[in-house]
Amino acid sequence: MQQNPHTPDPFTLGGRTFTSRLMTGTGKFTDFGVMREALAASGSQIVTVAIRRVELRAPGHDGLLDALDWDALQLLPNTAGCRTADEALRVARLARVATGVNWIKLEVIPDARYLLPDPVGTLRAAEALAEDGFTVLPYVQADAVLARALEDAGCAAVMPLASPIGSGRGLRSPELLRTVLDGARVPIVVDAGLGVPSDAAQALELGADAVLVNTAIAEARDPVGMAHAFALGVQAGRAAFLAGRMPERAHASPSSPTGGVVRLPDPEVPV
């Protein structure tokens, strides 16, 4: 099938249709003006936010809510910081009443050093949240067996990590990601660790439905420029996936015809 790269190529997640396959996080930006411009440059339609305790000694708000266009964006609150399934359930329910949105990016992360997710706690929390009517997007290692179990639990998507959160090291386990993508019944969104647009392109080339990027945009020298660059990377990767890559070969294959080449007498070959 021929696909014009400019043809809208929407995907459906949680019953809604999106044309942008780049989701963006709202953490780590130096100010909300830059964040808002970067979100616009990214074209993202889904943006993540976090839930934190109000400082009792200095309540007040930090302005994030005013900086986001709630009508145009699908908010995706996360459970970042939660160490157990029970903490994540509580934060998810607080997020639902805080935002009026029943989407939740589920993170259950007991390990502060590598921020690697707990597969057992994540599955347990995902089951409870799906049962409770949430649109659940769990953050997990690229584990196909776990991904299928999360689909069975009613998750709307599965979010395998590329490399540790905030590390910018790119897709370190593409072969494992392939196994998650093979036979997936929900959108697969590669989350965490993407450092540059080519990382995002690689994920989309392999068949991921979307990516989520935060640190690589927020910590770029020019976050707005990098947001735009990631949007292009995602578009390139998706277009390449649809176009179908060439087979890999062990040996060279000439690009120019092998016949009719201008020849001088064969060089003497030493015996």
Partner: protein, 70 residues
């Protein structure tokens, strides 16, 4: 034996004035209800619609807001 009545608010113990309601607690803390969400034990409320609920000794309360994050 009974000690002084306390609440736990965002992880901190806090003396409970008899008859204190949830909206009154938010006022005491100088929190704009429109910007927060509240849990009292396992009940969850948007800040703008917290009920006139009288708080009881031992209640565990969370008051949260939305911030930037990935």
């Amino acid at each position: 034996m009974t000690g002084p009545a306390i609440l736990t608010v965002n992880g901190e113990a806090r003396p409970l004035t008899p008859g204190l309601t949830l909206p009154a607690l938010l006022r005491d803390l100088n929190i704009d209800p429109a910007r927060v969400a509240v849990a009292v034990n396992d009940d969850f409320y948007p800040g703008a619609r917290v009920p006139e609920r009288t708080l009881e000794a031992g209640d565990v309360i969370e008051i949260v807001r939305i911030i930037g994050g990935g």
